[in-house]
Amino acid sequence: MAILSLKDFSFTYALEEKPVLKHINWQVAEGDFVLLCGPTASGKSTLLKNLKKQLQPAGKIEGQILYAGQPLAILPDGKAAQEIGFVQQNPEAQILMEDVKQELAFGLENACQPLAQMHRRIGELSNFFGLQDKMQQKTQHLSGGQKQLVNLASVLLLQPKLLLLDEPTAQLDPIAAKDFLQILKQVHEELGITIIISEHRWDDILPLVQKVAFLTDGCLQSFASAQNFSRFLHDHGQFATYLPAIPNLYFSREKERNNALEVVPFTPVEGYLWGKKKNWQIVPLADETEQKAAPTEKSLLVAKEISFRYEKNGQDILRNCSMALKAGEIGVIMGGNGAGKSTLLKLLAGLLPLQNGAVMWWGRNIRSLNKEERITAIAYMGQNPMQHFVCDTVEKELSYGLTEQEKQYLPHWISRFGLQDILQRHPYDISGGQQQKVVLAYLLCRRPQLLLLDEPGKALDPVAKKELISILKEVAQKGTAILLTSHDCEFASLLAQKATMLFDGCLTEWQPMRYFLRDNYFYTTALAKIFTRISQEVPLCIEEAKLL
C-alpha cells in the first residue's frame, strides 16, 4: 500500500511565475527507503517541504498529495506533526534547547505526552542512539554528527510513519556521515519506517536505499531501483556526470561488462570483487612529481608551530601546527567536525591573533601586514556565505569594497560562474551553491595570491563541483595558492595536489593527494578503496581509473 501518492502535483512559489515542481506523479510504498536526488535547484527541498504539512511553503498548489490514502491537507495538525518527521540539512539551525535531554523531549512535550511515557521513550531511544551518557550535555558542545543524531532521535521519538530528511549529512565529516546513514539503515530495517532522503553525495547512500527518485528542473525523471537508476543515468548521456564513482567505473569499462542483467557494483567491496573477477591488469600511473605544476621554490605562506585556544583556561584547539604553501599549490586540510580546520584557516588569514608561533607571508610576519596589504594578498571564504553579504542585490554585493581596477574583472567572473540571471536578486534568496559562487567571484576579482576556502564544495551538485574544480585549477595555474578544508574526499581528490589531516590539534604530515588517499580507510575516495586492494596505484579520477 502506498503511504504517499502525488497525483499530477505542481507547485509555484508565491510571487513567482515559473513552477518549481511540474506534474509529478509519484507513489511511495509503505516501508520503502527512497533516495530523492537531482541537480541543485531541481526542486528536491521544495518537494520534501510540501510533504510535511507544517512546512509547506507559501505558493500555488495544483494536483494532490495523498498520505495513507487521505489528502495531506485534511490530516489533523497534531497527527501530521507526529506521523511525518522532518530532519533538515543544518544540524545547528534545528537545535532549539540548551541540553540534549530537553532537546529530545521537545516534540513529546508539544504532543502533551505524560511524563512516564516520555521517560520510557527517551530512555529506550537514547540507548539505541548511544546518547545515554550525553543527556545532560549542552547541545552547543556536541559535534556536528552528534547534533544531527540528536535531531534524528528527537524526531523518531514521535514515532513517525514517514521520515523525510533534507541532505542530513551535507555538513558532516565522512565518518560521521557514514555513522548517520548506518543508523538510518538500522532505523529502516528494525522499525520499518518509510524514509525519503535527499542527498548530494550518493556513493554511500545508493547501496542502502531500495528506490531512487531523480528530479531535474522540477520534473520526476525516473523512479526506480538503485540498479535501474544507475543504468538510467548511464543511458541518458546528459546525466552521466551524476553517476557515483564505482558505477561510473563499471559503465566505463564497456568491454568487461557482460550483459544488462549483471549487477552494477555500488560499494567498494562489490567494485573490488567485480574487478577481481575481470582480472584487471594494473598499469602504473605516471609519477606524481611529473603531474604537478612546477611551483616556485619559495613558500608564500609558512606557519611555524602555531598554537591557539579560544579561552584562557580552555583546551588548545591547535598545537604546534606547521605548514608551508607555495604559489600555485592547492592543499586540502581534512578532519572531523570541530577538529579546528576553520580556526586554522582564520589564523592563516591573519584574522585571529596567534598565541604561539608565527605565520609568515613571503618571510614577513602576517600580523605586520596592514589591512590593505592583507586584503590584496589573501582572500578568505568562511563556511557560511551569508555572513559575507552586506548588500540587498547580488550585483551590489559583487562590487562592494572593490577598487576600480578590481571591478574590471567582474564581468569575467560573473560569466564564468554563471551569475548573470541572479544579479538583481537578494543574496539570501539564492541557493547555498549560488551564494558560494557569489562570494568566490567577489574574492577572485581581488586577484589574491592566496585563497583560503572553508568547505567550498558544500551544497554543490556533481556538475557544479566539476565546474568549480576547473575554475579553481585555472586560478592556481596563474599562480594563486589555494588552501581549503573539505569533508568531501571525492571533491578534494580532484582538486588538491596535497593533503593533510587535522587531528587532536595537530596537523599530520602533508602528502601528495594520491598517497594520502592510499593510506586512509575513511578519508579516501571510493575508487581508492577499490584500487588499494588490487595494487599500490590509486586513480584520482575516473579517467585515470580507465587507464588502469
Binding site: E98, E109, C112, L115, V155, I375, M386, F389, V390
Partner: protein, 291 residues
Amino acid sequence: MHSAFAKLNPRVRLCYFLPLLLLLAILRNPLFLITAFLFSVLLHVYYDKAQKLRKNMVFFLLLCLFFIICNPLFSHRGQTILFYLGGNPITLESFLYGLVSALSLLCVCSYGILYQVFFQSAGLFYCLGPYFPRTTVSLLLSLRFLPVLQRRFSEIRLLEQNRRLPEKSLLQKGGAFLLSLQILLSSSLEETICKAQSMRARGYGTDKKRSFYHDFSMHKQDWFCLFGILLGVFFLFYGFYCGWGNWQIYLNLQSFPHQAVDWLYYVLFCCYLLWPFVLEGWEEIKWLSCR
C-alpha cells in the same frame, strides 16, 4: 551538579534564595553583610570552585568602589563632617552608608551569581512551566539565542577584516559597526526561520497545552527543607521588622548594635546562611554511614 542542595526541588531553592537576596538588599549592618559575603564565597568555592565569581569579581569591586566614592560626593546628609570638597561637606555618615551599601551590593551580586550556578535555564521550567508553558519555551529559546548572537557577531566582525570598508573616521567606524549589526540581524532572522520550521516540524503550536519532561513533585526532603527555610525566613524578617541588628547611620551615627537580642539575631542569620552546608554535611554523613 552532584550536591544535596542542588538536588532539592528548584522551587524550594527559590524560596531560599529570593528572601535572602531581599534581606541582603535592605540590611545595613556591615557585620551581617561581611559574614554573608564570606559564606557566599565559601559556597562558590564548594559548588563551582568560584569560577563564575572570579570572572565577575573585578567588575563587582569596581561597582562597589563607585558606590563608596559617589555616595559621600552626592549625599551630604549626616552630622559628622570630615572635610569640605568644593564647598560641599563630606560626612562620616554618608561615607559609612556608601560603604555599607557597597557591601550590600556585593552580597546581592555574589548570591545572585550563586543562584545562576544552581538554576540555569531548567529553573525557569520549574517555576513558570506549569503555569505559562508556551511563554516559558519562548523565553528559554530567547535566552539561548543571546550567546549564539554574541558568537555570530564576533564571527561577522572577523569576516569584515577581510573586506575593504570605509572606517577611517569615527563616523565611518560607527557605520561599519552598524553594518555588522545589520548582517547579524539579517543572517539571524534567516536562521530563526530554520528554528521556527524545526519547532513546527515537531508539533509546536499544534496544541495549546504542553507537557514537561520534568518531575515537578515535592519529595519528603523538599517538604522538610521548605518548612525549615520558611521558619527561618519568618524569624529573619520579623527580626528585621523589630529592628534587631539594625545599625542606624543616618541622620546621626548610632553605636553599633550589641544587645543580646542583636547577637541572637546574628546567630539566626548565620544559621540561615549555613543551611546549604548543613544539607551537604548531612548527605556526607549518610554516604559515609552506608559505606
